[in-house]
Symmetry: C2
Subunit: 344 residues, 2 copies
Amino acid sequence: MTIAVLFGAKSFEHEISVVSAIALKKVLNSEIVYIFCDYDRNFYLIPTDKINSKRFSSGEYKKDKSLYLKNGGFFYKKAFGEGQVSCDFMINLVHGSDGEDGKLSSMLDFYSIPYIGPRIEGSCVSYNKLLTKLYAKEVGVHVLDYQVLRKNSEDLIKIPFPFIIKPLRLGSSIGIGIVKEASELSYALDVAFEFDDTVLVEPFISGVKEYNLAGCYAKKYLFSIIEEPQKEEFLDFNKKYLDFSRTKRVNEAELSQALEEDIKESFSKLYNPLFLGALIRCDFFIIDGKVYLNEINPIPGSMANYLFDDFNSVIESLSQNLPSQINVPKEYKYINSIQAAKGK
Amino acid sequence: MTIAVLFGAKSFEHEISVVSAIALKKVLNSEIVYIFCDYDRNFYLIPTDKINSKRFSSGEYKKDKSLYLKNGGFFYKKAFGEGQVSCDFMINLVHGSDGEDGKLSSMLDFYSIPYIGPRIEGSCVSYNKLLTKLYAKEVGVHVLDYQVLRKNSEDLIKIPFPFIIKPLRLGSSIGIGIVKEASELSYALDVAFEFDDTVLVEPFISGVKEYNLAGCYAKKYLFSIIEEPQKEEFLDFNKKYLDFSRTKRVNEAELSQALEEDIKESFSKLYNPLFLGALIRCDFFIIDGKVYLNEINPIPGSMANYLFDDFNSVIESLSQNLPSQINVPKEYKYINSIQAAKGK
């Protein structure tokens, strides 16, 4: 089995993706081919034995084979004709924009390339924190109270201090700030608005219990252990960054069976059918014994490999149960009937 | 000014898109280049003077210049090197899947090609009728009651007869059926489930007043007239089909000024910021003096040209006010700092 790992791209989380991709080399048993998308959105085939972070930061990758996308896969030019990068399926490991906002999913779908990763709708719903809230509520999963604020709007924030301000899109804690009193507000808004023209305001609950569960559906749910992440006030960018290179197993959270089941049930409500084909990680809060969705990571750092007992078999099962696209008959029924009527 | 019209693609509405594209030739004053995407998702440059529906139904287009997408636009091979299709911007005129579900928008965004059409999020929200409902409610626009039904689910329909069953995705009335009594249910469900594994059930209100408003935002709102479409029980596929080739002005609906303003206000709530860059048509119901959203057409048939006094100037203004993508600094800050720490 050969897996192509797609990473990089035009994203604030470009570097995270590089780190995440390199981490996968240690944990995947299969043969890996690495397809790098640079900040300018050019694709390169990176030799698996030579991959390291410096290859990208130094620009050395530009000497690697240049690739382009078309029906069926990634191709490269040869002296005569072209060659195709051979793989059984791809893993979309582009974190943040391009990867998690639906762009690359769209392109892989359009060119009929099988891949593990969120499809367009799942991407849009998880990338936009307002859509995440609306969707979660609709499928019966609790979310924290929230308020959406547009840039230059004069709306007052109705959520009491302390609250947390997040750019409406993006992941990985970028642009997020906690506001404990009025004097901190303007700076936090400035930071968040650097990354999006809309921000989300949520109550900040100090010391809230957070639990992460990763999983996917492949004829049945394949769940990871539930992790209680170590955290400071909240996971900042540097902390999360380290997370993306993790390959070691973590300790399981200590939870009552009832709560564990609640968390898994919430995950399933969110996952199916929107995230079929993806291995996602959902981060939950538990408040007064109730499960709340914090966020959905449709492409978790290094695929949350460290949360699974047998990561390789999860990936293999999922790859054999990817959603198929709807079949569209190639017909010109209407045009033919008009032409027939016209006697053409 | 040269406009590239992108049409066709792998969609149940492929033929509609062909008809829609040909109709634009009559109404656009600018130079047009036609980029056709066939059912197999190969791109072709169709000579503008030779475009007619038979070119596609007969397969003759396959002799036209083959195109491929890459950074900056559509390209074709030349004896030596390659040429680029030259245009100032594109109009995404692919109705239904590929065009309205976000795939082609993603690709145009990814390759930094300026275009008129919905961006990814607007596409996902309007393509999926559940997301449309959730979003409309969130921004304060009324929607009809609804129920979502999954294939093979044993959920009972709680909405009283008569109701209307629609595939959750797709547009143009495909797969839609009205159910007036229990005996009609199973057939209507079968039809709808042919097109999607989830359907939406809504009350069917016989004789409800429907009003369509098209528009876009280009420094200010550019609205069309409000049309009261002629209709039978509901606009079926054939009727809507004809709609897509329309180029003649229609009659303005007779509405009180208050209602007209309500309709425009509802449009604006839905449009901004989700549909910036697109010319969309919103179809509303008026029930007991209140405005309800029926559906959002993010790529209306032949761009709803027949609803505008000066369609060409609307397109020109919009093309000069397309949303820009967020700027991502090309940096390897984190990786460089790690390498510095390691002394590499």
